[in-house]
């Protein structure tokens, strides 16, 4: 059976760290490299932070963020699929929003690089948004694809040599 997980959290700043760590922990069975783990954590942090700061605003009660992950096994590695959904204000012009350096919160020291980082650090990225309804960010990353049976990872080599 395909492995999956589903998580629903309050859109609060203190959950940013928990959310990225939870997704990284879920990816561990694919034996990701430290760099792959760092990429996943960063992309998840960007998407979740956007839900916290943009989707609901800070004035009202926190809304919720849904995080769904799925692992698709392929050959020696696999693909981690991540979907991050909010039910907030949505985005009027998605093309504009994902452009590098575009931000609607200039005063907050925001860089407008969140979507650019998600696109750079993951292999696949897409976004669907409906004003007043919410936003879904979908991202995938292939993990451990370059490994083959002939070239075991360092820790496996050690085990074999021991």
């Amino acid at each position: 059976m395909e492995n999956f997980m589903k998580l629903e959290i309050a859109a609060l700043g203190e959950n940013e760290s928990f959310a990225r760590s939870a997704v990284a922990a879920f990816a561990l069975p694919l034996s990701p490299s430290l760099m792959e783990l760092s990429d996943i954590k960063t992309a998840v942090s960007e998407a979740v932070t956007n839900c916290v700061v943009h989707a609901y605003g800070r004035e009202t009660d926190a809304g919720k963020i849904r995080i769904e992950c799925r692992i698709e096994k392929t050959g020696f590695g696999g693909t981690l699929h991540i979907e991050i959904t909010d039910f907030g204000r949505g985005i009027d012009d998605v093309e504009k929003a994902i452009a590098p350096f575009y931000t609607t919160l200039k005063g907050d020291e925001r860089s407008g690089m969140g979507f650019t980082i998600m696109q750079t650090f993951m292999d696949e990225f897409s976004i669907e948004s409906e004003p007043t309804k919410g936003t879904v960010v979908k991202m995938s990353k292939r993990i451990g694809m370059e490994r083959t049976a002939e070239i075991p990872r360092a820790e496996e080599r050690e085990r074999v040599n021991a």
Binding site: S17, T42, V53, F121
Partner: protein, 103 residues
């Protein structure tokens, strides 16, 4: 995120320790700006040491540029050192190094 400073030969070393995200940045900003107010007048340059930063997302871009502007008011140039590979990629692609070079 913990921040501490050390001044040696008129160089201010600002060491960041822990995770930098939107949530942790508010306190980090306050602490770093206090250090700027205390030490900038007697510093020739400030070096932000990222070797103990275990995580950083795009929040770090705004954080570093904000501190750069703060130190600029005192005429103190800012540098960064020891970014992780992931942090390095973020700072490179956002052009941070054009304002804040690697020491």
């Amino acid at each position: 995120m913990r921040i501490c400073a050390e001044q040696r030969d008129n160089v201010l070393y600002v060491r960041l320790n822990g995770e930098m995200d939107e949530y942790s940045a508010a306190l980090a900003r306050r602490d770093a700006d206090r250090l700027a107010e205390t030490y900038a007048a007697t510093s020739e340059r400030a070096i932000f040491d990222l070797s103990k930063v275990s995580f950083m997302d795009s929040t770090g871009i705004g954080f570093l540029i904000g501190r750069y502007k703060k130190f600029q008011r005192y005429g103190v140039p800012v540098y960064v050192t020891n970014p992780s590979a992931g942090t390095d990629r973020i700072l490179e692609m956002s052009g941070v190094y054009t304002l804040i070079p690697k020491a």
